[in-house]
Every structure is written in structure tokens, then in C-alpha cells.
Amino acid sequence: MKRVLTILVLFLLVPQIVSAGALDKYRSMLENRSCTIKYEIAYQDKNIKNNDDLGIFYQKVMDKVEAENMGAPKPMGIIVLQGENSYTQNDGYCLLTRNGYEYPYVVATHKGKVDYYGNHTGVGASFHSVKGAPVNELERLMYGVTYGDEEITTIMRVICPETRALNRGKVYWRAASGSLEGGISYEDYQWAGDNGDVDLMRFYFNAGELMKVSTVHYEKLGPNRVAGMHTTIKFHEFSSTPDEKYLTLPSRLKDVTKYAK
């Protein structure tokens, strides 16, 4: 009888153990800080918009930008980690961290041509110059490692939880796992706040390879009033080899950093 029970328990546990490992290899890539991740925001909406009491001039600028970008594919998101050096690109905003300095710049496509714009402003400054600043270790200690915007950082921190920061943010736990039609398997994670806020995340795997993640974030605004956001991110690459071409400044940009002697 004991043997039957043991077999039954193992039979029930095996799928859990197998699916628990689906994110492990991605977790170790982030922990070892050796990876190249390329992703695309396939779907995102947000019911809370920055729509309150805006300046009319700003509204017009926003409308123009929105109209120009309507239907245009969103630029690819990139994360490259190589030891202490890293590169993140999210919605055109880039941050290169190299040899203890951070270089923020913007990549934009204008009339089919890719161009780069730096952060160095002021009289006589070129649009294409970048002034780096030493990595803010205190900020990293306080808030942990970031990987781009809040959404992708949250996803990466579910894959590889932030353990060193003083303010670790939301802690997700595994809620479910299973499989869908066509050999797709999934793992679900959730977080819930005391006030009724709730976040869910579903990681999709095809033959063990992470293919996409869907997230929902619901914020409780009051009795019978919530605001939700839904996002789907598709992964085009999640490999353990850092793509070194992203770990140097683009040749279009001039480094005007004043380095400590």
C-alpha cells in the first residue's frame, strides 16, 4: 500500500517538479549576468491614462506623436548582461553601463534611418554627444538592478528575484502551471497587495523555450473602482551569450565624459 501511495505521490509531483524548472535556466543566466535578451511588446494597454488637467500645448504635442506613431511597430527591447557591464534598450531609451559608468542615450528611426541622440545638452553641445556618469551604487543598493522600464524589470525579477536590494518591490509566488493545446506549457505567478491590488503573470514555453509572457496588473482605486493593465511580451532571443556589439557606444555618439583621474 505504501509503495502504491509513494508512486501516486511521485506521479502527482513530477509535472510540478518539471515545470518548476522551466524558468531555471533563464534565472541562472540573469544570476550569472551573462545573457542577451531581445523582446517585443506585442500587446499593451492601460486604462489609466495621464489625462488629467494637462496643458493644452502638451496635449497637442502628445496627439501629434500618437498620430505619427499609430500602427508603427514598437522598437525591439534589448537586455545584454556581461558581468558588471550591461546594456538595456526599452522603447528607444538606451542605457549602457561600462567600466563603472552609465551612458544614457536614445535610438530613433527617422525616415527609415536609425540615429542616436545623446544626453549632453547646453550651449554648443552636439545632439550626438554623451556624457556618462559613475554608476550610482547607492541607488542600486536601495532599489536593485533594473532592466529597462518597470514592466520588463518586474518580469525579470519574477524570473530572477531581487535579493540584495533593501527595497525589493513586489514579491511574486508561483500560483499554477500546466499545459495548453499544441504542446505549449505555462507557469503562472501572482502577487497580491493588502488593499486589493493584484498582479498575475503567465510565462509560456514551447518545448521548454520561453516564448512569451502575459501580465495583468490591477490597481484598486476605491470601492467598485479598479484600473487594469494587460501586456504581452514576446521573446525573440533569450540566450546565455552576451552580444558584445551592444556593449560599446555607437560610433555616431561622441563620448564627452569627464573621467576621474
Binding site: Y43, D52, R202, S214, R225, G228
Partner: protein
């Protein structure tokens, strides 16, 4: 043997029962009370704007509404509270541990709008609820609008400084002291949509922004005009945006850009 008279009555009764006018004939449109997704929803701007729009469209005599009243049923409120419905679904899934109803739902299908307030032309909005609204009200099309944004602007200028610089009227204004104006602007942006209740599809959509200004002129210590945004200004800007949107809808009806059932 039935008499001819009895037969005629029976025939008339049978015909009367079988002849139900199709719902897509004249009067196949209704207007939903608008929604306001801004922080200022308590100002009831959505109600004011939808009433003004309905009044303008009905008075034009060009749109065929089933009833000249705004729809604000429980189903309409449910349509506007779609996020809350999904939130309830999430919590029920958390209780069961099965999250498929959340992640494998239409919420992640790009063909569907996440909510009616974000829906663009061609998007599908909650087909189940819209079908119910159509059946309850006996219409095929519903007009709906969302107040998307309120905007403000402020412009201070001192007339004496400008006058001195351009016309050299320093003597005159020197006597009067400075004359200053403080102009405040309130703008409202609204999108209206026409939805087909049989499919939930947004078949038409227009967006407009209107603005209203008030000026407070100060001469010596006397004020002329108003220095704070007021109810009249709020009503006027709503009237202007309703005018713009109704004008566009009527022009598009005349140009046959909207379904034929809408026109009279």
C-alpha cells in the same frame, strides 16, 4: 364550418402575430450616456455632454433615434465597469487556481479593445454585453462617447508694458497704472463611437477638442470679468465640443459614411 368573417379575423390575428417589424428599420439607433475616464468624473461632464449631443442630433432631424432618451441601464454600467468585471474574474481564478479564463481570454486578443473607452475604429468591444444592450433597447447601433482629457492653460499679460514698448503710451498708462489680463482656458477632448450591437464592432469613431476662455482684466484695483473657472465656462466648453462632434457626425451621415439605417 367557419364563417368568412371568423376566417378573416383569424387571418388578421395570425398576420399580426407573425408581423414583427425588423429591429434594423428606422429608429435603429440609441445613445448611451457618455463615460468620463478622467479624475474629474464627479463633475458629471459625461452626462452634460451626452445630453447636449443627443439634443443637437435629435434637433437636426437627420438621425433616426429609437427613443430620444439616453440609455443608462445596468448593462451600460456593466459595459463601463468592464475592468471591475475582469477584476472579479481574476479573484475567482485566484480562488480556484485555474488562471486560463484570465490569460486565454479576449483581453489578450489584439482584435478586441481592452475597454470601450480605449476602443478604436475596427476594434471589437465586449460582444456579449453589447448584444444584450441591443436586445434590451431594440436597436442595432449605439452611439457612445468618452471624455478623454481635460486641459487647462493660463496666460498673464500686462497691457501697459506692451503698450509702452510699441506705442510709447507711457504717459497714459502711467496715469492709469498697469492694466493686466489673466486668461484661463479650459479644453475638453472627447471621442464618440458608433457600435454595432450585433457584433460589438466599432464601425465609426470621431475625436474632437474644444476650448473656452475666460479673461480677467484688472485696471488699477478694479476687476472686470472672471478670475476663476466656473460652471458657465464648463457648460460652454461642453456645448462647443458637442457642436463639433455633432457637426462631424451629421456631415458624415450626409456623405453616407455611416450605416444607412442611421439617417432619416
Amino acid at each position: 364550418m367557419l364563417s368568412k368573417k371568423t376566417l378573416a379575423i383569424a387571418m388578421a390575428l395570425m398576420l399580426g402575430v407573425s408581423f414583427v417589424p425588423p429591429k434594423t428599420e428606422a429608429g435603429s439607433t440609441a445613445m448611451l450616456v457618455f463615460s468620463d475616464k478622467t479624475r474629474f468624473d464627479a463633475a458629471k461632464g459625461a452626462e452634460v455632454l451626452s445630453e447636449l449631443m443627443l439634443e443637437k442630433l435629435v434637433n437636426s432631424g437627420k438621425i433616426s433615434f429609437k427613443d430620444n432618451v439616453l440609455l443608462n441601464s445596468a448593462s451600460v454600467q456593466q459595459l463601463y465597469g468592464e475592468d471591475m468585471e475582469f477584476y472579479k474574474l481574476i479573484n475567482s481564478c485566484r480562488a480556484t487556481g485555474n488562471y486560463n479564463p484570465v490569460f486565454e481570454s479576449y483581453k489578450f486578443n489584439p482584435a478586441y479593445a481592452n475597454s470601450i473607452d480605449l476602443a478604436k475604429e475596427g476594434d471589437i468591444v465586449e460582444p456579449r454585453l453589447l448584444k444584450r444592450i441591443g436586445e434590451e433597447s431594440g436597436v442595432r447601433y449605439v452611439l457612445q462617447g468618452t471624455i478623454e482629457r481635460y486641459g487647462t492653460d493660463r496666460d498673464d499679460s500686462t497691457v501697459s508694458g506692451v503698450a509702452n514698448a510699441i506705442f510709447g503710451l507711457s504717459g497714459l498708462f502711467g496715469l492709469m497704472g498697469s492694466v493686466s489680463t489673466d486668461t484661463k482656458t479650459l479644453a475638453v477632448t472627447c471621442t464618440v463611437r458608433l457600435l454595432d450591437t450585433t457584433t460589438g464592432k466599432v464601425v465609426y469613431s470621431r475625436r474632437a477638442m474644444a476650448r473656452e476662455k475666460i479673461a480677467d482684466v484688472k485696471v488699477l484695483d478694479a476687476n472686470v470679468g472672471a478670475d476663476e473657472m466656473n460652471t458657465k465656462m464648463f457648460y460652454n466648453v461642453m456645448d462647443k465640443v458637442a457642436d463639433k462632434l455633432a457637426g462631424e457626425i451629421l456631415a458624415d451621415v450626409a456623405a453616407h459614411k455611416l450605416p444607412a439605417e442611421l439617417g432619416k
